[in-house]
């Protein structure tokens, strides 16, 4: 049950990265979209009706973390108090920017919110990667509390993972715009997609080598199944190369595979730890010593798995209704 929960949580965060990832990615390249032809308006229209639902995956994953591994939730969010608040403020800025931009047809107004949306998306894509990097690297935890400082979170390894996350999500966002929009925005997105693919490829190789040399890599030897994640990543990278400049939907599937593969690899690397201590393995929070009781895990699993199946069904349905290219720019209620 504990292992199941570990992979379920990893899956929840992965779905969050796949879905909110593309609208974060659209935000990350947003400030470089040309003004002519109202490209920014089309980009916003492409994510407008779905971004909020995508973000709920993060909220739901957070809720599942509380009930399954309450000590990890408690230590994680109190230990990284200032970093968490920074993320929350960027989430507020980003949500408000998307929704309020279209309320007023006034250039100064939209410029302001454009900047807010772009900056907040860039920062979030980076910070989520930094957080993941720190999870893989391990943290100074002793006696159930975090012993480090805020500055420690910005170590070189975590920053590098942050850059990878930024490049990867920006690539994912560009791929989303490729199949959701028409030229000229589509042309621009294809160009960005090509460059960001190369950046992602480069950073993924660097991070993998760094992870291996620094010894953060997990126990792949005794879990042969874990090799599936690097293989998925490679498949995604290969598919992206094969998709080339024309096959837009294939490129989007490729970035999905890469995100899923890399997150899966990261999860495999830390397994069975949730918060790995750099001060000694006895201080790590694992899926066994930080878990709720078996009954609590079972109850929460059944209660939420049923609901999530329904969510997946209607989320798929809603995405189908909004399928096809975006016809009109702008996004306002």
């Amino acid at each position: 049950m504990n292992q199941l929960w570990f992979w379920w949580l990893a899956g929840m965060f992965a779905v969050y990265a796949l879905l909110d990832g593309y609208d974060l990615g659209v935000g990350a390249i947003y400030l470089w979209l040309p003004r002519e032809g109202d490209s920014r308006g089309f980009a916003l229209a492409a994510i407008g009706p779905v971004w909020n639902g995508n973000e709920v995956w993060l909220i739901a994953a957070g809720g599942l973390l509380v009930v399954s591994f309450p000590r990890v939730y408690a230590l994680g969010f109190s230990g990284f108090y200032l970093a968490l608040m920074l993320v929350l403020w960027f989430l507020i800025l980003r949500g408000v920017a998307i929704e309020f931009r279209g309320q007023l047809a006034q250039p100064l107004w939209s410029d302001f919110w454009d900047a807010g949306f772009g900056v907040a998306s860039l920062a979030l894509a980076l910070l989520l990667g930094v957080a993941l990097g720190n999870l893989v690297r391990g943290l100074p935890i002793a006696g159930g509390s975090f012993q480090g400082s805020f500055a420690l979170l910005l170590n070189p390894y975590a920053l590098l993972v942050g850059l990878l996350s930024l490049a990867l999500l920006a690539w994912h966002g560009a791929n989303y715009l490729r199949f959701k929009t028409d030229p000229p925005l589509q042309t621009r997105a294809r160009e960005y997609s090509r460059r960001l693919y190369l950046a992602t490829l480069f950073l993924a190789v660097v991070v993998t080598i760094y992870t291996y040399i620094a010894g953060y890599i997990g126990d792949f030897g005794s879990h042969p199944l874990f090799w599936i994640f690097p293989l998925v990543t490679l498949a995604g990278l290969a598919l992206a190369a094969a998709a080339g400049r024309r096959r837009d939907l294939a490129a989007f599937y490729a970035s999905m595979l890469v995100i899923a593969g890399l997150l899966g690899s990261a999860a495999a690397t830390v397994f069975p730890n949730l918060l790995r201590s750099t001060l000694g393995s006895g201080d790590s929070l694992t899926i066994y010593n930080a878990a709720s009781s078996p009954l609590a895990l079972k109850a929460a699993f059944i209660a939420n798995a049923i609901g999530l199946l329904a969510v997946i069904a209607y989320t798929y349905y809603i995405h189908r209704i909004f399928r096809g290219k975006v016809q009109t720019p702008g996004y306002h209620v």
Binding site: G53, V56, P70, W89, I92, E99, Q103, L104
Partner: protein, 458 residues
């Protein structure tokens, strides 16, 4: 640190809660108007539903972005509590996401942007999905709170940690039942007052008269019913839960220091904990005993029966509770007067009364907040009633300075949000219901919607 953590949580949750009050309340009426439009075919209901949906949407945005911090503040400010009770009250947090937030956010997108892409009944169902989602969200969070008010479904293990024994007991905590009904009723009542206030504003400024009259009629009829059900049965029966399970809170809410049979209800008065008396009280004899226990002779336990360190902050609990009850009574008077004027066909011309309705706008929000304040402050010193004190639940490794610093940050951000919210909402009200969908995207959808209908009928 405890104080800083409490102030920050109180500030962020109270600011946030202003918006769910509005969206839960308006959401219900929007669904009602959409239903009336589809069943009667009267396009004025459609126009009204779309107008209120524009007001709703702006509030929804602020509600969503200010709600996200709360989900994480349990961990950041109350780490010890999260580790202690996460497997119990935490059962409800993911369910709120899975069963409520997904429904709300997914179908709001469909409702606002799906016009013309889906049939009108599916569009209606999407609106209903938003309403059901927001009501469910209210239930899960009230039930999570109920576990702190009246912990159930657990046993204490050898280490004194609560362990889940019954999921169903936690999900259907009896404390949550009437509390939830009271909370939702309060939000609906606020929705009725918002509609009445804006309609009164239009009538006073002689604009959009037909829309305003229709809206005002609906608001006054609904408000009349809701202001009564706010007191009875929901408020009354929730009060009995408090009397049964949290007698110290009841004593603080009523300013009752000495245990007595046939206790009177204090309508007014100033609690003085030093002398343990209520100064300048106005009493209604024996009513408190009757309200709390259903008998005029019942004994009501006073605060003096408890050790001082188990008293909640008496003054704050007492005043918050009395503000709520006092305002609730005034709401009944206003809405009954409105119904009377409506019956006498003078409602739309009684300018003095329209002024009253317009200026009443903030007070249902104050009453809702005051009610939660009485509930939460009255729970002190407990975080989980009878099990865990608030001081024990706080994060051990977050410094007070960090919390004060981020509290100031939240205050600044929320001040800007409040200004933006008021500015944008005032614009929508200024533009009025007849402005239709302002902007190209929605207008285009509307045209294609009309075209689709034309094709079908052709």
């Amino acid at each position: 640190m405890v104080f800083a953590a409490r102030i920050q949580f109180a500030f962020t949750v109270m600011f946030h809660y202003l918006f769910p009050i509005l969206t839960m309340g308006l959401g219900f009426f929007i669904a009602l108007m959409s239903t009336l439009h589809l069943t009667t075919g009267d396009r004025r209901w459609d126009e009204a539903a779309r107008f209120w949906a524009r007001i709703f949407a702006i509030g929804f945005v602020v509600g969503v972005v200010t709600g996200i911090p709360l989900e994480f503040e349990f961990g950041s400010n109350w780490a010890a509590f999260s580790a202690y009770g996460g497997s119990l009250f935490g059962q409800l947090l993911p369910m709120e996401g899975v069963y409520a937030f997904f429904l709300e956010s997914g179908f709001l997108g469909l409702f606002l942007f799906g016009r013309g892409r889906v049939g009108k009944w599916l569009h209606w169902a999407a609106g209903l999905g938003v309403g059901v989602g927001s009501l469910l969200s209210g239930y899960f969070i009230t039930a999570a709170n109920a576990w702190m008010q009246h912990p159930v479904g657990y046993r204490l293990d050898a280490h004194g940690q609560p362990q889940l024994v019954s999921f169903w007991a936690v999900l259907f905590n009896p404390f949550a039942g009437w509390q939830y009904a009271h909370v939702v009723n309060g939000a609906l009542l606020a929705g009725a007052f918002v509609m009445a206030a804006i309609a009164a504003f239009y009538l006073l400024s002689r604009r959009h008269q037909e829309f305003a009259q229709n809206t005002l009629r609906l608001a006054v009829v609904a408000g009349c019913i809701l202001s009564l059900t706010q007191l009875f049965p929901t408020g009354d029966l929730e009060g009995r839960h408090v009397a049964g399970w949290q007698p110290a809170k009841l004593a603080a809410m009523e300013g009752l220091y000495q245990t007595r049979a046939g206790a009177p209800l204090a309508v007014m008065g100033m609690p003085n904990s030093r002398n343990q008396t209520l100064l300048d009280p106005v009493y209604v004899p024996r009513i408190l005993s009757f309200l709390a226990y259903g008998s005029f002779r019942a004994q009501v336990v006073g605060l003096a029966a408890y050790p001082r360190d188990l008293w909640p902050p008496v003054a704050l609990t007492y005043y918050a509770y009395h503000i709520m009850v006092g305002l609730g009574t005034i709401f009944v008077v206003i809405m009954l007067a409105g119904a009377f004027l409506l019956w006498r066909r003078r409602l739309y011309r009684s300018r003095w009364f329209l002024w009253v309705l317009m200026l009443a706008l903030p007070f249902p929000f104050i009453a809702n907040e005051a009610g939660w304040m009485a509930t939460e402050v009255g729970r002190q010193p407990w975080l989980v009633y009878g099990l865990l004190r608030t001081a024990q639940g706080v994060s051990p490794n977050v410094a007070a300075g960090e919390t004060i610093f981020t509290l100031l940050g939240f205050m600044g951000i929320y001040a800007v949000l409040a200004l933006l919210y008021l500015f944008l909402t005032a614009r929508v009200i200024g533009a009025g219901p007849e402005s239709g969908t302002h902007g190209g995207a929605a207008g285009g959808d509307e045209a294609s919607h009309a075209a689709a209908i034309g094709e079908k009928s052709a």
